[in-house]
Each structure stands twice: as C-alpha cells, then as structure tokens.
C-alpha cells in the first residue's frame, strides 16, 4: 500500500470527485482523508470554489441588450448574412 500524503491526494482530487479513480487508489485516498483534518478542510474549500465563482460572475443581458441583439441579427440576415 502506498503512502498517500496531502500533496499526492490533492493531485487526484478532481479525478476522485469525478469518480474516475480506480477502486484501490480511491480507497487509499479516502483512508488518508478520513484521518486528516487538513485534507477535509482543504476539500471543503476546493468543492465550494466553483459554486462561489459561479454566483459571483453570473450576469444576464438587459432587456434592451436582448432586443438589440435580435434586431442586429435580423438586420444581418436581411443582408443575406
């Protein structure tokens, strides 16, 4: 059995979360994390990062911008775009 460290575990984190790790490697990683409060804290922040960035960068075109987009595309089509 290999010796999983925080560092080697972090390298496999995305594969672990996506479910692409092989059984034995996954179990080694889970065993390390179960006994490592540092990794548990790290993983919590790693998992939350996409959600936080998603919320903080969400945006929608305004109704005026949406109308302008449709009008632009119609005018281009009219010109045989």
């Amino acid at each position: 059995m290999r010796n999983v460290t925080c560092e080697s575990g972090v390298k496999r984190l995305m594969d672990y979360l996506e479910g692409t790790l092989s059984g034995p490697v996954r179990i080694e990683l889970e065993t390390h994390v179960a006994g490592c409060p540092l990794c548990r804290a790290f993983i919590e922040s790693y998992r939350e990062t996409p959600r936080i960035l998603r919320g903080a960068t969400d945006a929608a075109p305004s109704p005026a911008q949406q109308r302008a987009l449709l009008a632009f595309l119609r005018s281009q089509r009219g010109r045989g775009a």
């Binding site: 996506e18 903080a56 960068t57 075109p61």
Partner: protein, 202 residues
Amino acid sequence: MVTEAAAGSDETLAARAAAGDSAAFDDLVTRYQHRVYRLARRLTGNDEDALDVAQEAFLQAFRHLGSFRGASRFGTWLYRIATNAALMHVRARARRPEESLERFLPGFDAKGRHRGTPEELRVAAHADDLLDRERLAKHAMSALARLPEPYRVAFVLRDLEELPTDEVAEALHLKPATVRQRVHRARLMLRGYLSDIVEERS
C-alpha cells in the same frame, strides 16, 4: 408563453432555421442568449466585449447552420462557436501582462502535508458569506481574467456553465482527462485566491 417542448427541440429549431425559417432562429437566440452572453462575459472579462462576442457568435452560428449536422447537441456546437469567438476577441485586444495566479496554488511541507490550520484551509469555502457581494464579484472577474487561458476556458465551461466534462472535451477538441486536469488546476488557483482575499479583508 410557449414552452421549449412546444416550440421544439434545439435540433428541430436548428433544422428549421437552416431551411430558412427565421422565426426558428429567433427562438434559438432567445433560448441561448443568456448563456452565450454569460459565457462571453466570463471569458472576456467585461460587459461590452460580451455583447460583441454574443453578436458575433450568433451570426457565425447562423452562417454555419448548414454545417450543423446534429452529431453533437446544438448547445455544445454553439458553445464551441461562442468560445472561439470570445478567444479571438481576447487575443486581438492589447493586453497588459497580468500577475499570474500560480502563487495561490496550495503549499505543502517537506512531508507533503498541507501548510496551515484547518480553519485557514477551509476559509475559501465561506468567501461568499465573508465578503461583500460587490467586492467578491469584482475579485472573481479579475481572478478569471488572470487564469492562464487554457485553464480559464476549461473552468468556465465545466464549472461555471456546468457542461458535463465529456461535452467540454468535445467542444474544445480535448481528451476528458485533459479537461479534468485543467479544471483542477484552475480550481486550485481560484481556491487559493479566494482564501487570500478573505484573509486580506481583516
């Protein structure tokens, strides 16, 4: 209000639009404009460029509808066009060199253990509770812009637009393993960046 199901699938609308039905194309624009605009804004970093890119992306989609064969989902095909349009836009713009986010990658001691306490390692998880909303939004856009482009594109499509990894791979012509590696790298940098701005707050 007409539901998407009643109006037809994306692929049906695309086929009708390709055959000259302009209302069908308008429906596709209405259906996708929010997603295309948001994607463009996340890739270019500002509202003005996002609008230009959205226009360009839909125009190109319209011009190339004939080559959309339905081998991939319409959304994946459109995301690919919009991503390329955004990158052309970003590359054409004179840029000042941005400080890299490499320094926010996690640190380990000689034994490969995380540096820091659990509280310090966890803090990024609560960045949205701990930071003012406007300030966080500004930092988030700036952080995206500072990611190396391959990481930014993979992260935006996979984690922000929430496309499945295999669709991101298809849109970018990459292997799924490569997409995962890039998204992972981006998450690590952004996680470290969030920790840093939370700690700076005090």
